[in-house]
């Protein structure tokens, strides 16, 4: 029934099956929207945030999704500025994933501020001494970049492309995409960095506080580095999931392997920097604040040393070693395993930098604080996932996201 909208030369599942899938995911989406409306109408008392936990579960999700969406800016940088031509076969999908991640991040922030109608205050009444202002500025501008990168893809939709103006507009936007990609890389560097910087300047929270390089704490650079390193793994992972669901090869191996190899080396160098940073913090920064490493981990099983090992070794070193090895990244199972581990690793990093920071006692009379999110927080955290699944489903069905699909599936 919708065959006139589907890109030429490719096959899609029957429309009733597609609608059934959309309805199933749409139900989850509506559950999240209901929870979101509760937070807006009834207020943030719907959450389990308290005087200890000023950052809820969704702020972890926000930071994680921004890091995972880093594949868009880094792939764009490699494609348009470094000139890695083989990445042209995956850049469309990287942009779609980035668009989903960043629109989700902005949605989460809209829930978090409680009164979204006042969201513009941050631009007009800006606190120019806050790293979060830099995050807000760069995040919203970078979302504009992703929208600009996404628009040509929509304009290339089979029916829209017949409109001459849309056809020319899409073509013109492609012609100067390098300008937008360069702007996006600049904005991403600063907003990813500033998200890490927020943790690093918390001198009252010794678990997060770091020494500075110039005016930035070391976490500034580690956040940008880790997003550039692990973001492409999320792009690869979502590509593989989409291929498994559609039972089709959508992106050729050269593009995947190039991205995997670069990601592997980026993760390896990031983990080395992260290890040096952690050792310096444990041996110099924390003791100067009157703390020992054991006080940050060993008094609570939930935040035990295992979390550091899971982040650095399991979610960092192991995927890095798999991806830099030709044998490892050529093995489909190992490639997916590495991508999963890298995504888990970066999510753990964001988890500890958001929630463990607040769980660690900082006063002699304090105890470890645990945090159990309310169902509204869980629902609003799952909401972007459902939204992302729907957008990918529609993009895959109706937009020419995968330029190689026809040749890979004759």
């Amino acid at each position: 029934m919708d065959s006139a909208l589907i890109p030429e030369g490719v096959k899609r599942c029957p429309l009733p099956l597609f609608i059934l899938g959309v309805l199933a995911v749409g139900a989850v989406l509506l559950w999240g929207v209901y929870a979101m409306l509760l937070c807006w109408i009834k207020g943030l008392n719907q959450t389990n945030m308290n005087d200890y936990y000023g950052f809820a579960l969704w702020i972890w999700a926000d930071l994680a999704v921004i890091a995972l969406g880093g594949g868009a800016f880094f792939t764009g940088l490699l494609r348009y500025l470094v000139g890695k031509d083989e990445l042209k076969n995956i850049i469309n999908f990287a942009v779609v994933i980035g668009f989903i991640c960043y629109s989700s991040a902005l949605l989460i922030l809209a829930i978090d501020i409680g009164q979204p109608l006042r969201g513009w205050f941050i631009f007009w009444h800006a606190n120019v001494h806050s790293m979060l202002t830099e995050v807000a500025f760069c995040l919203s501008c970078y979302f504009a970049v992703l929208t600009i990168e996404f628009v040509p893809l929509v304009l290339e939709q089979r029916q829209l492309n017949k409109v001459t103006f849309f056809h020319h507009l899409g073509h013109n936007m492609h012609e100067i995409m390098a300008v937008f990609a360069a702007t996006g890389a600049f904005l991403s560097f600063f907003h990813q960095g500033s998200l890490g910087g927020v943790a690093g300047v918390l001198y009252g929270r010794p678990f997060a506080f770091r020494e500075s390089l110039l005016v930035w704490p070391s976490t500034f650079f580690l956040f940008t580095w880790s997003a550039a390193a692990c973001g492409p793994c999320f792009t690869i992972l979502v590509t593989k999931i989409t291929e498994a669901i559609t039972r089709k090869k959508l992106v050729g191996d050269p593009a995947i392997h190039t991205l995997a190899k670069i990601s592997g080396w980026m993760i390896l160098t990031y983990i080395m920097a992260k290890t040096i940073d952690t050792v310096y913090w444990a041996l110099v920064t924390a003791p100067e604040g009157g703390f020992t490493l054991g006080q940050f981990y060993s008094h609570n099983a939930f935040y035990g040393y295992w979390i550091l090992i899971a982040e650095v070794i399991v979610g960092g070193l192991i995927p890095a070693l798999i991806l830099i090895s030709e044998k490892g990244r050529n093995n489909p199972r190992m490639l997916v395993l590495a991508a999963v581990l890298a995504c888990v690793g970066i999510s753990i990093n964001r988890w500890v930098m958001v929630l463990q920071v607040m769980a660690v006692p900082v006063m002699p009379f304090d105890t470890w604080q645990l945090y159990i999110p309310s169902w509204q927080e869980v629902a609003t955290t799952i909401l972007p996932v459902a939204y992302g699944v729907l957008l990918i489903a529609f993009a895959h069905r109706y937009l020419p996201v995968f330029p190689q699909e026809k040749e890979l599936n004759p």
Partner: protein, 57 residues
């Protein structure tokens, strides 16, 4: 925030933060403006042939 509103201060922080914001917005605005203007020109004045450009090149 613009320099003509009462909250503005001519200091480094305001210049760096808002300067960066306006700089990024200017590039994006000019870039998109150029694409729209050229598309209008191509559509109504140039009457260029309708080519199929394929994917995101």
């Amino acid at each position: 925030m613009f320099p003509f509103v009462f909250e503005w201060h001519w200091d480094t922080a305001h210049l760096v933060f808002h300067g960066g914001l306006w700089y990024a917005l200017s590039i994006l605005g000019l870039g998109v403006g150029y694409c729209v203007a050229k598309a209008l020109y191509d559509t109504f004045l140039n009457h260029d042939d309708h080519h199929d450009h394929g994917g995101h090149h």
